[in-house]
Symmetry: C2
Amino acid sequence: MAKKQRRMTKQKRVILDVLRSTTSHPTADWIYNEAKKILPNLSLGTVYRNLNNLKEEGKILELSYGSTYSRFDGNPENHYHCVCVECGKVADLDMPVVEELDKKAQEAQGSSIFYHRLEFYGLCPHCEEKEMKN
Amino acid sequence: MAKKQRRMTKQKRVILDVLRSTTSHPTADWIYNEAKKILPNLSLGTVYRNLNNLKEEGKILELSYGSTYSRFDGNPENHYHCVCVECGKVADLDMPVVEELDKKAQEAQGSSIFYHRLEFYGLCPHCEEKEMKN
DNA sequence: ATCATTATTATTATTATTTAAAATAAAATA
DNA sequence: TATTTTATTTTAAATAATAATAATAATGAT
């Protein structure tokens, strides 16, 4: 069972570059519109497929909160996020990954744990400031 | 701005009971089919709306991994899950919630953190056993 | 460079989820 | 209980994401 070999196409290149050029954790649709400026006859299906491929290759992260729509992150290293319960903005947290969590989980479950995903819910500094004024 | 008052309708009651009657973290569609056995002319939109309402009321949890479809959990207390990267099954982990994480995140961000969600990715005992035999 | 192979694309259709609007049912009040 | 108010339901339509397929483009070998 030979594993399917990946290719770097110009569509994929543009999608990855667009995602890496922002820190805003954009949606697939936003990426599609940006990439379309460079490759006008790009299709949305191609964007979704490539985002999934890039995710599987470990080049990007998919962040799915609730069931509305997914956001993507051009930084593939495991890191934590905070979702603002007020405005919905997603921010990177400058906080080290807690590796011990995997060990604890492995003990609890009794089988292998490879990694984890952690998201915090709270207020972003901007919304917290607004709350203070009420 | 008076907050909208919630009602407990028979549809909502059935949806919640169905979800509480299983430990399998079912999808909206599965819940719909089960609930339909009790309320035959229930509509799928009602299931989705009520699952969202129950989530907002803190009675259930929504688990969204990747972009395929959401799973729901009748246990609203914060607890951790493990997703099997092999078979996709979602299991509850018998492991205490690490409250200190919120404190650390709050320091890193500089504004309020209320709670967090944590998911582990690994192999379920069943798939791990299968791997051993290869 | 040419040819063969195989992944990727665009297009189209399908599935998952949300939203809109009119009809119904629950809660509050008379 | 009848009436009013407002949330919720059903139905239907809209949006987000995935999958199928034939056409295209990238890779490897000549």
